[in-house]
Subunit: 390 residues, 2 copies
Amino acid sequence: MADPSTSPPLTRASVFEARELIKGFVHHTPTLTNATLDRLASTPAPAPLTGADGTAGRKPANPRIRLYFKCENLQRIGAFKIRGAFHAVERLKREPGWEEGGGRERGVVTHSSGNHAQALALAARTNGIPAHIVMPTISAAPKIAATKGYGANVVFSGSTSVEREAVVAKVVEETGARLVPPYDHPDIVLGQGTLGLELQEDARDIIAAAAGAEPSHSKNIPAEHGFRAAVTTPKLPESKKTNPSLDAILAPCGGGGLLSGVALSCEGTGVRVFGCEPWFEGADDAKRGYESGKRVEAVSTLTVADGCAPRWANVSEDEIIAALKLIYERFKMVVEPSSAVPLAVALFNEDFRGLVEREGGEDGWDIGIVVSGGNVNLEALGKLFAPKDG
Amino acid sequence: MADPSTSPPLTRASVFEARELIKGFVHHTPTLTNATLDRLASTPAPAPLTGADGTAGRKPANPRIRLYFKCENLQRIGAFKIRGAFHAVERLKREPGWEEGGGRERGVVTHSSGNHAQALALAARTNGIPAHIVMPTISAAPKIAATKGYGANVVFSGSTSVEREAVVAKVVEETGARLVPPYDHPDIVLGQGTLGLELQEDARDIIAAAAGAEPSHSKNIPAEHGFRAAVTTPKLPESKKTNPSLDAILAPCGGGGLLSGVALSCEGTGVRVFGCEPWFEGADDAKRGYESGKRVEAVSTLTVADGCAPRWANVSEDEIIAALKLIYERFKMVVEPSSAVPLAVALFNEDFRGLVEREGGEDGWDIGIVVSGGNVNLEALGKLFAPKDG
């Protein structure tokens, strides 16, 4: 990882620069729409509300919502993480003295049992750089195999963060490899932010096209099913908005790198950014950290992104599973369970929906949804979808 | 259903005419490629073969295969059936005397517990025609709800075909509705065949584009993941073929309407058509019927399609599940288990693979794969993917 002091400033312009650097290595993934999900999102919940989230008894919100799904499940390695990893490596290659000092031979190292492991392994292999990936011994066999499949040297560790960091330190000592952390670094944040730029541009094209004439073969076709953007111009609920831009983007919080990058990509555009989290077992750490003023380390970069600090929205596990099922049934698309969190917010979070109703009014809001990845364990997925009594 | 004697002849030209009739009502679904699946299909099985299908001890075939997936899971109602249903209704509207004789008011009727029920319900509703759908009382609740959701009058029956046909006869007697059967009718066959035309044209475009220059943003990007066609021109294993057309299409047998239609769409083109079936519990009825000369009623139209009689290829249940998992994991796409049968043939059927090796040689074959539908029961899917010991 390049020394953070040599990183570009955390601004929207730097996200554009990051895009130039990684352009040859990542997919511009499709942005897709789905009329059924728009209809569901634009229908009030049945009254009376009975939620455990403080909304009980309130009148259900009645927003108008049009959704634009940024499909990073169709990205290389099946997740957005490839953007940050390629950007980090490109930045490292440009660090003064790295190449001359033998940095390429010494390689890179990280600890991850998930998508970042595969992302860094691929980015390193593409550049002919050795990658050492520290994974807990208890990692699922397919994840270990996938990481090795991208040519990385997998080093095992215990599963606590102390144990993992000790092994990383040992690898660094022995090999001189440079650490590329999964999210808490400006180069990673700027790389992930590139998907925010694509989402804004794609949505603008779709909104503008929907306002104009439709191609003849899509006439009279309600878009019950997904991937319309690949085929025909989608038919959207009518809007009188004169500016064909998104009103908001909903992104998962995760480690904060994606959310920070998306926030930067919206800087100065007026697009509101919402971080979406489960409110299950204290997983809403980002929201609590933000509200208490004590920032979680992982999202510390947010405070630097002046003028584009995201807001937070939480949903329950049941709401996430309901949204996940809709993505499978209606979009026919395979996504990771965590990727359903932003859609769950649009469909079920009454605070968010009330805000859209108040601020969007008759025209409603055009909302970007970040679908972060599609690397599922089919057996675990099977259990999630199997009947509860089974 | 229009009287078959008034139907157009079963020729490729009639499939083009059918396409004109249904153009405003069905999606031109995407045709997608996937480099990982091409690589897998172009890799020999581990030797020695141990198959129970007569291949034990044989040298594994080593074909070169490039696949083109026609994604009817992204079609309206989630399956190709909508094509035949809309075509049947359009033909009915053109039957002399139907409109004047009050045919529209009397409506249409069919018996189906699956995709044809929803397809006919939607085609009828779109045309303001009442639809009566006879479904067994044991049908899954979501299927009944979906069919009612398209505005159809659902009539229940016993589950044997005798019981179902008796109820249909009663509905016809009481309402004067016209029967639209699920597959065994020229109008249905011609409607389903339209997907064969699209597949041939799309594949030709992709093959021609791959032979030329690629857009800059897809350079150096191996297409590990699906839906490339929506984004960039896919990079295919090199071929010296001068004719950018498919060598073969693999389609599920099912009721025979789809397979017959696809065969017609290839008439005179040189594209070979293969019907793909499980060889589980005698389900290879089409193959046996064909070989014995005693045709199964359902596929009787095949004999009319002179010069384009399909061949058959069978695969085991385990091979189908392996192909299904690859579609979920690599394409990130939700498909019905039966839609994985053609891919299973390309990956695992040694007779088919040997044929491709012999006839395709160095250049290999470009093979269209019909992905017939994506309407899955997530709970059943969960059980399929759950660990065997779970």
